[in-house]
Symmetry: C2
Subunit: 166 residues, 2 copies
């Protein structure tokens, strides 16, 4: 939500004469747009999901991760690492998903502390139902503004930030 044109103002205010400003104007514009892009796009995609009476994106992320893991399932900390959610919140998110019958927590053989989480048929079904809306939203709110080359560039650039590509 930072406003590009104002962030730039900061330069003169925040820096001492003789010191070059930390991030320059172009950086700040790019930063501001990046932040804003995310906010705008996620809002639009979530709105589409809600309008289709579907659960939020995070549910999709978790279930997708679990489906990929297959029969073996995943440890909670693995899910947390994948969807960038801390253990406290993940624990309760999984509570909700489990309550909806979308996944199951099993006792973990290798580690008595942990649980092993597996997706259920209902979970897989929800993924299938969410995808058309989710995919449609990505196409409508994001894809249409770029060509293939640009999308590739975008992915390549962002992938350089540590923790983004995986």
């Amino acid at each position: 939500m930072p406003d590009e044109s104002k962030l730039q103002l900061q330069l003169s205010c925040g820096s001492v004469v003789g010191m070059e400003p930390k991030p320059d104007a172009i950086t700040l514009t790019a930063w501001a747009r990046l932040v804003r892009t995310q906010q705008v796009l996620l809002e639009r995609v979530e709105a589409d999901l809600k309008q289709a009476s579907l659960p939020p994106l995070r549910w999709y992320d978790v279930l997708l991760e679990l489906r990929r893991a297959g029969a073996g399932g995943l440890r909670q900390f693995e899910i947390g690492a994948a969807v960038l959610l801390n253990k406290h919140n993940l624990s309760r998110l999984l509570d909700r998903l489990e309550a909806e019958g979308l996944l199951q927590r099993h006792v973990c053989e290798e580690d008595g502390r942990g649980a092993r989480v597996r997706i259920t048929a209902a979970g897989r079904d929800l993924l299938k139902r969410m995808w058309p809306v989710y995919g449609g939203a990505i196409a409508a709110h994001f894809e249409q503004y770029f060509n293939d080359k640009e999308l590739r560039q975008l992915a390549a650039m962002l992938g350089r930030i540590p923790g983004v590509a995986r």
Copy 2:
């Protein structure tokens, strides 16, 4: 938090034979990285602010908006539009900032319903104190991975999404 490699899996599951998939693989990679970038970067920047015992980014955004507006101040809905925050939450965010003495709400001459919000000296001071940390975080977590040309490209591309550039 969507995982690139898995989103692609979706293609085969969600689409009917003969129909081309809605968003293609490149799109999904770019999308996933965009979402992840935001999450990762904001987390890092917020962490830096917190470590410096400074308030969250949103406070900065609002105060910056107000400082730019100058003596005239802003209506609440104008702030809301600028920082992409709905009126309910903005109202309470402003409560907090006002309680901290960072801004003031005045009665609005032109519109008896509304308030006019102005930044205070303390608000301006907070902006000054936050900037070094915020700017430093942008440099450390974002700027360093790109050159000028790339930053310009990034800004130009994202600016095409409606609602991003302003």
